[in-house]
């Protein structure tokens, strides 16, 4: 069957669709994108706004504390800066995703690079955040019990073994959970993009 025959068949019938009116098209332009990337961006913006709002409220509150104001203000400020950086970095990476004006191959290459970088950043940030939470937990216990008592407790072999055991357990669980979650969210899409690019590249090398 020649291409011209296929063209004749194709032109003999128009696929069924209803044309959109100008008003409907104008409304579409006012709407939000329903792509997962746009949804992710909206969600990150919401989290960033919430973090900044809650962070500022906690800072104001900690400044009014009768004792330990400096200590708590520093902790909240540190957390606010760290989380703001985390969300801004996420937004920067997400903004690079939508580049549909390039050809399909270039767009696929860019998407794969961006998605891989995004996933790496996601994994690394959690790999860093979990130990921070762990040490912050220890720090709070030290504050509660008193530093000298806490150091005595830390010197006991049983405490050291328990802490190492807990740290390893939480690190393995959190790393596994993050990897599983990311694979579930983006893994299939990344596999699909890689397969499409592989298909395009393999044929190119055969022809040239």
């Amino acid at each position: 069957m020649e291409l011209d025959e296929l063209k004749n068949i194709w032109k003999s019938n128009e696929p069924g669709y209803t044309l959109k009116g100008e008003e409907e098209l104008a409304i579409m332009l006012k709407g939000n994108s329903r792509s997962i990337i746009s949804k992710l961006k909206r969600s990150v913006w919401f989290e960033l706004t919430l973090t900044v709002g809650v962070g500022i409220a906690l800072l104001v509150y900690s400044l009014t504390l009768p004792s330990g104001a400096m200590k708590w203000t520093s902790i909240f400020l540190l957390m606010l800066v760290a989380y703001s950086f985390y969300y801004v970095k996420k937004l920067t990476l997400l903004n690079q995703f939508e580049s549909t004006h390039e050809n399909i191959r270039a767009n696929l290459e860019k998407l794969i690079d961006n998605l891989t970088s995004y996933l790496k950043f996601y994994k690394r940030s959690y790999a860093i955040l979990y130990p921070i939470y762990f040490f912050l937990g220890l720090f709070f216990i030290a504050l509660e019990r008193g530093t000298s008592e806490f150091i005595i407790l830390l010197k006991q072999p049983r405490t050291i073994i328990t802490l190492i055991g807990l740290a390893v357990f939480f690190f393995i669980c959190s790393t596994w959970l993050t990897s599983w979650y990311l694979k579930k969210l983006y893994g299939n899409h990344l596999d699909k993009l890689n397969a499409l690019l592989k298909d395009l590249k393999s044929d190119q090398s055969v022809v040239s």
């Binding site: 069957m1 020649e2 291409l3 296929l6 063209k7 068949i9 194709w10 003999s12 019938n13 128009e14 696929p15 069924g16 669709y17 044309l19 959109k20 100008e22 098209l25 104008a26 579409m28 332009l29 709407g31 994108s33 329903r34 792509s35 997962i36 990337i37 995703f97 939508e98 549909t100 004006h101 390039e102 050809n103 399909i104 191959r105 270039a106 767009n107 696929l108 998407l111 299939n188 899409h189 993009l193 499409l196 298909d199 395009l200 044929d203 190119q204 055969v206 022809v207 040239s208």
Partner: protein, 163 residues
Amino acid sequence: MAIGEEKNFINLINEHQGLIHKVCIMYENDRDARNDLFQEIVLQLWKSFSSFRGEAKITTWMYRIALNTAISGFRKQTRHIKTEDLQEVHMNISDSWGDEQEENFQKLQWAIRQLSEIERAMIMMALEEVAYEDIAETIGITQNNVRVRMNRIREKIRKLMLP
């Protein structure tokens, strides 16, 4: 963006909306998903409209954005109809087709949907009389490669359309 620019854009989409509808039909199975994809393509075109400087043909630019959105756009996964399901649908339709022209058209549409996403993009453009040069530019491969692939696609369709 200015109101005049919006008006120009809407006129452009209005004039070429058949192209977007056809891409949606090629890549989505149900009506809701097609409407979502249509809106997504229009939004992506609108985002890029100000940067379009007429270096490429307007339809080439539209195909590029529409196909990129359909193929690699990270949208909600819709249930993909299995080949066996489609085969069943194909058989059922065959029984009730009266007109030969209509039957061939339905068979062709069904056969195209069996192809890979890249192949679908290529055959769709070829059927819409897009030049091989523009197909190569849209996909990002050489014209030689387009020719080789088109022969293979044609052969696949021929086999799929056999009674």
